[in-house]
Symmetry: C2
Amino acid sequence: MQIYDPETSDAIHRSANTTPRRSWRTWLIGRPLPTADAAHQTIGKRVGLAVFASDALSSTAYATQEILVILAAAGVVALQYAFPIAVAIVVLMIIVVVSYEQTIHAYPSGGGAYVVSRENLGEAPAEVAGAALLTDYILTVAVSISSGVAMITSAFPALFDYRIEIALLLIGLVMVVNLRGVKESGMAFAIPAYVFLIAMLVMVAVGMGQWFLGTLGLVENPPEMYTSYETFQLLTPFLLLHAFASGTSAMTGIEAIANGVTAFKEPRSRNAGLVLIWMATILATLFLGITFLANEVGAMPSEIETVVSQIARTVFYGQNFVYLFLVGMTAVILVMAANTAFAGFPRLAAILAQDGFMPRQFTYRGSRLVFSRGIVALALIACILVILFDASVNKLIPLYAIGVFLSFTLSQVGMAVRWWKSGHLQPGEEIVEKSSVLHYDSRWMFKMVTNSLGAFATAIVTLVFGVTKFRDGAWIVVLLIPLLVLGFTAISKHYQNLARQLSLDRNRSFPRIHRQRVILLISGVHQGTLAGLRYAHSLTDDVTAVYVSLDHDEAKKTQEKWRVWGEGVRLVILDSPYRLLIEPILEYIETLCNMRQSNEVITVVVPQFVSRHWWTSILHNQTAFMLRLGLIFRPGVIIIEVPYQVD
Amino acid sequence: MQIYDPETSDAIHRSANTTPRRSWRTWLIGRPLPTADAAHQTIGKRVGLAVFASDALSSTAYATQEILVILAAAGVVALQYAFPIAVAIVVLMIIVVVSYEQTIHAYPSGGGAYVVSRENLGEAPAEVAGAALLTDYILTVAVSISSGVAMITSAFPALFDYRIEIALLLIGLVMVVNLRGVKESGMAFAIPAYVFLIAMLVMVAVGMGQWFLGTLGLVENPPEMYTSYETFQLLTPFLLLHAFASGTSAMTGIEAIANGVTAFKEPRSRNAGLVLIWMATILATLFLGITFLANEVGAMPSEIETVVSQIARTVFYGQNFVYLFLVGMTAVILVMAANTAFAGFPRLAAILAQDGFMPRQFTYRGSRLVFSRGIVALALIACILVILFDASVNKLIPLYAIGVFLSFTLSQVGMAVRWWKSGHLQPGEEIVEKSSVLHYDSRWMFKMVTNSLGAFATAIVTLVFGVTKFRDGAWIVVLLIPLLVLGFTAISKHYQNLARQLSLDRNRSFPRIHRQRVILLISGVHQGTLAGLRYAHSLTDDVTAVYVSLDHDEAKKTQEKWRVWGEGVRLVILDSPYRLLIEPILEYIETLCNMRQSNEVITVVVPQFVSRHWWTSILHNQTAFMLRLGLIFRPGVIIIEVPYQVD
């Protein structure tokens, strides 16, 4: 024992040096880390890029194709609109990135849409942003893993029947890597992320070089053109907007860095901000490059072959090793994209839990200092989604990205409000908020306009998503987000109500308990009963033994034995003509409660024998458990189970 | 309150006139019956025949066909051996019935194979008999219901895809009828049983009359002959034995009456004995008649049309209303056959539980005075079987009847031993056994030979079953019965060990508890904590508050608050560097236990807030529950959960 700060403290501090036991958990996720190690579990810029950007970068594997799939409804000529649309998306991306750059520096303790909404817009919009983000993190895992599995099964069609099992296995793998801790998961993921990145950049660079030299070819035997519309469409603004909306799936994942600022090494904001700019630059380059090349080589949107695959085999002259390597790395990066969500979801859940919108348990750090409960919850829900939707990207895609754009919108509205407030401060004046300090900013008008523009654009995209994809599955998300918000509100109310009722301000005088009345339940007279009797006697002298009689002869026997062993304690026998066990006891206690004086507490002692073999519990009545259920809501009645150990 | 027998008793008797609440259960299974009504729930001979015999009688629907299916392997000519085999089976049946007639009179409190084996052969053979019977009751339900559903789906092929659902529904129906009580289930089942009986007897009588008058026709367009062998077989003794063994499925269900003697009105043994003779007579008549007619009309064993159906349409001149009525009633009686098992299984389970081989709960009578737990357990296991075997009779049949013949064998060996013992008594001398009284019997030699013959024959049948059906599924039963016996032994050991350890003879002096040491676990300082503190103070003055510190600042705050509110109670703070909650507490209590004096008990008080909304429990740590798990095996440590009700 170790006495702590003896002058100022009357408490005894005792350090529990319990090194947790080694077990299969240790083998799986590594040895436990003490809380003091927390600061070390941060990541540098290079690892950060791999951890947070693989989601965003992997979307280049399908974003161009999603634009083409929509445009194709208006014929081959309409495909040429893909590049201008890609440019528009990049402009939108720049606006969003600039906004998030400002957010990261304004909120160095991490945040993103939820925190920004909470600070600037209030509780309800914040809950909506939280719900939208959680939904989308889950979908990121389900979509990315399913898409990655689709790549694998394209290469090995024999595995197609096992795609759900493979997807679940991969989710489990990513979960375990994340349970080990963010630093190691960064290392595990950094190398393949960079290999993919370089492979893609090489493809774009070689293709552009060939175009410049005039040697770029056309796709040989292009696949049949496919469009998601069933009938021919005119090239209306709506169609262009739809194509634009589909293409913006390239932007999913940008949010992640702003949410995860705290995972970066100090100076956090600077490092996170730099990584965001790197990521956006690479993303824009790849996305524009791929879209440009897709048009130039005449790639067709198809169900059979991806656009990236068509470009690759044109640029690299056939389905050779380089081609296979690129397609394989795309599959790997898609699976890894799920890791981004595994970095983001648990952090957001912890913030929401901290604010009382989700169960407190999400704020606890596990043995490896990560938010284990959030990681496991994400994996479980994603697995359920994968099973429900047969690991099919086509079925999952309509649910995807709505949440992200809803949160983008809320985040940028929030930033706009913030700049407006900032513009109305005096220079030097400051407002201290929960997660940040607000100063006067001389460029508030420009920044507000930028964010408002972004908010407007992303709001449109959200609407177009919701409308065009509603019947394909978006309704699920449209329904789910309000339900989640209702859940948040209910949980929040519960915690607030609890805090109010537990508050010490409520009632400053407590009557002391003057009388202990003990009811000893007996099922017969044996060693276990006597152990209970001894314990009951140690509490008070006012002990009454109670026996429920199902059988007259048994009751007689018990009564006679009690006369010998009962140490003079009064015995009440409750006749139970309907062979009920719990109900007569509850009725009896009810009667006692009604006759009870104030400051009197009734303690029910239930002797219970316990055995080291778990299975033996089904061989006995769980009277104490049933009584607890029946009496837990009755104030002033306490149930004590007195275990009697049997070997 | 009502004082009971005041001169001789010091206990207060209080009659709990709790009429149990009306609810969906009352609606489903009827109002609860008081224990005093028990004697009324017995049945007369006519209802008894319907309840106990429908299993045995329904087997006439398939027994003949099963003989033919085997014989067909040796060609059409071999089918003529069916009648001699049927005669041999009837001879065996007479031997078994005579044996059971003797058993019923020797064991008026019910018994059958398990009780007979227990009294005469010892514990191990009795356990084997019990396991065999339980297995076969379960299979009776699964096979009969599946077979009945097969009849229904033969008539309405559109229902074929829902056969599992229909089977589960029917099992549920039979379960509910049985949960209402044996008398009512008898009434519900008596009428259709008698209608089936009369219809079958009419068919056999008409057919025999036609044969006598020389007007009996041949089956028109008989279905293709089917045999369960894949290749042609010679008519070896083994093949004849196999056909004989398959045909003995006609005898399943005979055991039920001997097990259920107590369900009959007084004089029980006489009534039960008479019903057994009626049943055997009808069974033999139907079985011989159907087998005879099957050969005379040239019925073919088939997968498409049953033999009974072929006879019926030949005797009644086509598929007219009379034919449809007979086939329909056969379907109904097959479903009802399951009822026999529902009458037998719970009674046997209760006897086994009484002897300590199964969980005690099986001896409890439910609100309708039936052994509800046995009924529900049987229904659940049968449902699982139906699901696993796709409600297919073909898949289930190989598992069936082995248990019955094993128990027949054990029962008759037991009876033979009994007669042998009886023969070695002096006239007038008697041995009082647990369930019966053994006298000298002058005809002991004859009876012993009869039973030995029966034992030998049924043992052969059991062996033939086991060998010929092993690979088709009998191995499951061959494996299951020893496993059940192992389970019985383990349960029996547990109860015996418990009884020994709870026995009051073991240790007659108990030290009184002299010191109560209370540990109050606190997770913070709030109303719930103070409620716990008040309760702790009512137990003893030796209270120590314990707080687990996951966060240094929180610990500081708690310590300061405790100084204000803690009423001077000492506070121990346990540092937990690995963020573990339960382990440091366990370690601390361990230390206290090691320093503990004798006669000192440690009580851990855990304040726990409870809310009326069940879902809120996932929002809180279940510390008390986890501690209970960790400490339940440590003598001298008691955990008290002090609930603090939050609205």
